[in-house]
Every structure is written in C-alpha cells, then in structure tokens.
Amino acid sequence: MRWATRAGIHIDRAACAWLIRRFIDPQARFVFVTDPGDVPSDAVAFDMRGVDLSHYTGPDGAADCTFETILRRHDLSDPVLWRIAAIVHEADLDDERYDAPEAPGLDVVLRGLSMLCGDERILELTGPIFDGLYEYHRRALLLGREPA
C-alpha cells in the first residue's frame, strides 16, 4: 500500500513510518508531498491537516500526536508501543503530559538529521533507532527494571 505524508519529516512522521512498516503494512511505500492536494488518490495520508490519521485534540484540550492516533485506529495495545508513543509525543509536542526523558535527545537527533539528509534517507536511518528503542523498552518491561 502507498502512504503519504508531508515532506521534511521530523520525529512523529519518522516514528509513524516505522510503526506502519513494522506493525501494519510490511510492504508500505512512502510518498512525501509539500501540498496536501498532491496526495495520490490511492495513498493513505498521515500526519497532515484534515486527514484521519493525524493529530487529535480531545474535549479537554489534550492533544494526541499522529503516532498515538495510529495506535488507537489500528487497535495496537502493545505496551511497548505505547511507551514509544509517550517518547514521540514529548519529542513532538513537548507538553509534559508524559515523563519521557529520552524525548529531548531524540528530538535533537531528528532535527540534526533533517539538516543533513532527505526524507527517504531519514527513514532508512531512523528505522534501526526505533527498532532499538522498541527492544530496549520490551526488555525493560519484561524485567521490570532498566535492562543492562
């Protein structure tokens, strides 16, 4: 399936692309557009204004980032993914809803990468980073403490 998002990706879109490829659509191909009008008709758009898989603000004014919205829409309840969602949320929205000390570091890494490489390359580079985050937090959850 084809998936479309805004060009110039940062933490939320990079994390969503990883999530989609690992847990939803292993054959996913990504298209990056600058104008929402350029989304191909056969593509599922995410993290763009006015589409379903995007930021969502609840009645209390608390916002979800797109990574959280995708987890909800696809009924992904894996607690490790929700731990990563907290990190992505804080790196993206920085509203202190979650305690995620990894977030500022990850935010800086992604901002730096976006100065050096294009969107395709960022996906290649960040895939293993999110794999690592997942494995670390999977072990942490199993052990009930920080893994070695």
């Binding site: 110039g8 204004r49 006015g50 930021h55 603000t57 004014g61 916002a63 500022p104």
Partner: protein, 166 residues
C-alpha cells in the same frame, strides 16, 4: 530566511474562536503562550517562520477549526527592518521578564536548606529549558538566569546546568 530588505519570514496565525465553551479557547491560548507568540492584534499572532513554528501553528489552527472557530496560516515579511526589530525587541522583553523571574527565585533559594535548594534548582532548570524553547531572540537576562541556576545547583552539589538552546 532573510530577504533583500534584511527582514526575515514570519508565520502568522489569524483566528477567531467562540468564547464558549471556554475550555478549547483557554487550551489554545495556553499553547500559544507556550510557543512564545507575539500578539499583533486581537486574534492575530506571529512567530519567526521555520519548519517547527509553522507546523506548531498549523496544528493549533486545526484545533481552532475543530472547536468551531476559524483559522488561517500566513507567511509574511515585515515591510521594514525597523518593524521587525520592534517585534523582536518585544518578544525578547517578554522572555527577559521570564528569565529575571527565574534569577530572582534562584537567588532567594540560595539561602534555603540544601534539599529544598536542590529541588528548586532542578525545577528552575526545567523552567529554563521551557523558556529556551520559546526564546527566538535571546536577551542578556538569559545568561544571568543560567548562571544563577547553575550556581544554586553547584552550591547543593548537584550536576551542571545544561546550556539551553533556542
């Protein structure tokens, strides 16, 4: 991005949001404050344009539409460098007041008992990071505040204060 006239690009959010219910209106206002926007008029706020500030204002624009309001995003250039300087000065002054409040609190906490001083120092360090994220034109008060919190934490034997970047 600087143009020939020596002025940069700004992203503007023009909006109107119903007075009631007040929850979404207040949530929007808090988010704008957190971003450090300069208010140009009632329902018109602006920030220096970059990928992040534009995106943040776009999400808020969506939120306003969802709450039954109207919002549009504009990219603009001040017509004169002077107008931009005035705007930058205003924004720097707003941050300067926040930094000064941190310095004052750090100074007051210096005479507190060590554990209390450290707790205050850690809280102020987080506060400095928050202010830094909305500080687009760092005023001299920033360095004073960083130094005050660093010296407070040093006096309690805690770690170094990170440099906050804008």
């Amino acid at each position: 991005m600087v143009s020939e006239a020596g002025v940069g690009r700004w992203v503007m959010l023009c909006y109107r949001i119903p007075r009631e219910p007040s929850t979404p209106r207040i949530a929007v206002w808090r988010k704008l404050k957190r971003l450090g926007v300069a208010q140009l008029a009632d329902g018109l706020v602006t920030l220096p344009a970059d990928a992040r500030t534009r995106e943040q204002l776009e999400w808020i624009a969506d939120e306003i539409s969802d709450a039954g309001g109207e919002a549009s995003i504009w990219l603009a250039q001040p017509a004169t460098a002077r107008q931009e300087r005035d705007l930058a000065r205003r924004m720097a002054a707003a941050r300067a007041a926040e930094y000064a409040a941190v310095s004052a609190e750090a100074g007051a906490a210096a005479s507190a008992e060590v554990r209390e001083a450290r707790r205050t120092g850690e809280r102020l360090r987080a506060e400095l990071r928050r202010i830094g994220r909305r500080d687009y034109f760092p005023p001299p008060e920033r360095d004073t505040a960083l130094a005050a919190v660093r010296s407070l934490l040093d006096s309690t034997g805690a770690g170094d204060v990170q440099q906050v970047s804008s």
